[in-house]
């Protein structure tokens, strides 16, 4: 299966280094301190931020005198993907994403400003079409900005894959589900563009060194 056509187009008609259409809105929830809904192509994520607030009874153990607790809960709506899935939260995949989101935002939020408090971030994937983690980071950042919580920089993430065509590697930006499942090497990068820092970086599968040299972006 060719990820990149002879004319250099992908399944959904994008060029290799082209984003999907991004739409977002802040302040969609009234009862949360901050909230945002973000749609990237057909992936749609709702994020809500509560806090900084008094830690819940279940968080008491993690209370720190120096910084605030950051808790992230990632969940996927049962209707998010083509197949209806029961068990929206709590599976291994969701736990893994929750943990990496938590790590990401612990590095982003200026946690030392709010000792003894807790910030809870809830992200829910309403429509899943690839790049879940990346869109969740972007949506949660928007929600944090809406809540007025101090962060180091606008933290954004993107997923990226490599397609090999005629022995030349092309990087595909912002993977859709059909491309994610094609078993190509993928990276997920989270960074802060203005300060130039990298927050989180994940590489799946391997790529031969030769392709790195011949790597091209169009």
């Amino acid at each position: 299966m060719e990820l990149l056509s002879d004319e250099g187009f992908r399944f959904d008609g994008r060029r290799a280094a082209e984003f999907r259409k991004i739409q977002g809105r802040l302040g969609v929830f009234d009862h949360a301190d901050g909230s945002a809904i973000l749609q990237q192509g057909n992936t749609k994520v709702l994020a809500a931020v509560f806090g900084p607030r008094e830690p819940m009874a279940s968080q008491r153990g993690a209370v720190s005198q120096e910084r605030c607790i950051v808790d992230v809960e990632y969940s996927r709506a049962a209707f998010a993907s083509a197949e209806r899935k029961r068990r929206a939260r709590g599976d291994k995949k969701a736990q893994e994403i929750s943990l990496s989101l938590k790590k990401t935002f612990e590095a982003t939020i200026l946690t030392t400003l709010y000792p003894r408090s807790a910030i809870s971030i809830f992200v829910e994937v309403l429509q899943a079409d690839g790049g879940d983690y990346a869109v969740c980071v972007n949506a949660a950042t928007l929600a944090l900005i809406d809540a007025g919580i101090p962060i180091r920089d606008v933290c954004c993430a993107v997923s990226c894959g490599v397609a090999i065509k005629d022995n030349v590697a092309y990087s595909l930006l912002d993977l859709a589900y059909s491309e994610e499942t094609a078993r190509i090497p993928t990276i997920v990068a989270t960074g802060m563009p203005k300060t130039g820092e990298m927050v989180f970086f994940e590489v799946e599968s391997r790529l031969h060194m030769d392709y790195f040299r011949a790597h091209q972006c169009i």
């Binding site: 301190d33 000792p115 920089d153 802060m192």
Partner: protein, 288 residues
């Protein structure tokens, strides 16, 4: 009775109500505000490296002499001494009540910082600690003043005045604290027979007219009930359009909304009409 079903409101500000000052600069998190080392960093900023001052929230930059702060549009309430707050009792502990007033940490109301109902003098001892729940129990709403901001971030409240204490029957609306305009007075007795408490922490409370002592509770007649409902609707509309809340905006909003029945105040078509009327009255006041 007719039933009206409508789609959720478009989240749109009535544009004429809010105007941005041209001189204010808006920043996003991570933006460099200044590379000059002479300035001091205030709230909403952080020092990224030795000479870079960056914003940490999205908002407008404010400069007072050498202090630079960034004020976000929406933020949790930060207590200051002397603020009037409305809060809800969430826990009764030994010698103190824990109060939720929208701060990042709960506030404390010490037993020593309250006036007992009826001006009864308190005898220190184990006995009165046991009957604390008689005065205030979980779920009660109180009106209090911030006595102290403790070093660890908790607030200490006090109700050592007849103005403060347990709130009687009424309606609570929680809005963003940034919408409450800071004034000398936060408790207003409106001519429609309702007392409006615009607490600095964004908790707005409407109750029937209170006289000197807040603890006296009377029966509420139906006219007052309707006025309270109307004020609630007006406040919700004002908060939706991010109009700052203070005595005249509330009063003019209330009077302008009298053209409509209470249930129809929040309709988008009506809202525009009475908000425009309110706005013109406020403008006229400012000119004169």
């Amino acid at each position: 009775m007719s039933v009206i079903i409508k789609a959720p409101n478009r989240e749109q500000n009535v544009s004429f109500l809010n105007k941005l000052d041209d001189e204010e600069t808006c920043v996003n998190p991570g933006d460099v505000i200044t590379e000059n080392t002479d300035f001091m960093r205030g709230h909403g900023t952080y020092q990224a490296s030795s000479n870079e001052l960056r914003a940490s929230v999205a908002g407008t930059v404010e400069r007072i002499n050498k202090l630079i702060t960034v004020r976000p549009a929406k933020m949790r309430y930060n207590g200051e001494v002397g603020d009037i707050v409305v809060g809800r009792i969430i826990e009764v502990q030994q010698k103190l009540w824990k109060v939720d007033c929208g701060t990042r940490l709960n506030a404390f109301l010490n037993l020593a910082a309250v006036n007992l109902p009826g001006g009864e003098l308190r005898r220190r001892g184990a006995d009165d600690e046991l009957v604390m729940r008689k005065f205030l129990q979980e779920g009660d709403l109180i009106l209090a003043e911030v006595q102290k901001v403790r070093e660890d971030g908790y607030l200490n409240l006090h109700t050592r005045s007849l103005k403060y204490g347990k709130l009687g029957p009424g309606v609570l609306i929680i809005v963003s604290p940034s919408l409450i305009r800071r004034r000398k007075q936060h408790i207003h007795n409106l001519p429609c027979g309702v007392t409006a408490i615009l607490a600095t922490n964004g908790f707005v409370y409407f109750c029937p007219l209170v006289e000197e002592d807040i603890s006296i509770v009377k029966e509420v007649d139906s006219a007052t009930r309707e006025n309270i409902c109307r004020l609630r609707q007006v406040t919700l509309s004002l908060a939706k359009h991010r109009v700052s809340l203070y005595d005249s905006s509330l009063l003019y909003g209330f009077e302008a909304s009298l053209h409509f029945p209470v249930a129809e105040i929040g309709f988008e078509s009506n809202e525009e009409e009475w908000l425009a009327e309110m706005k013109s009255r406020i403008d006229r006041d400012q000119q004169s």
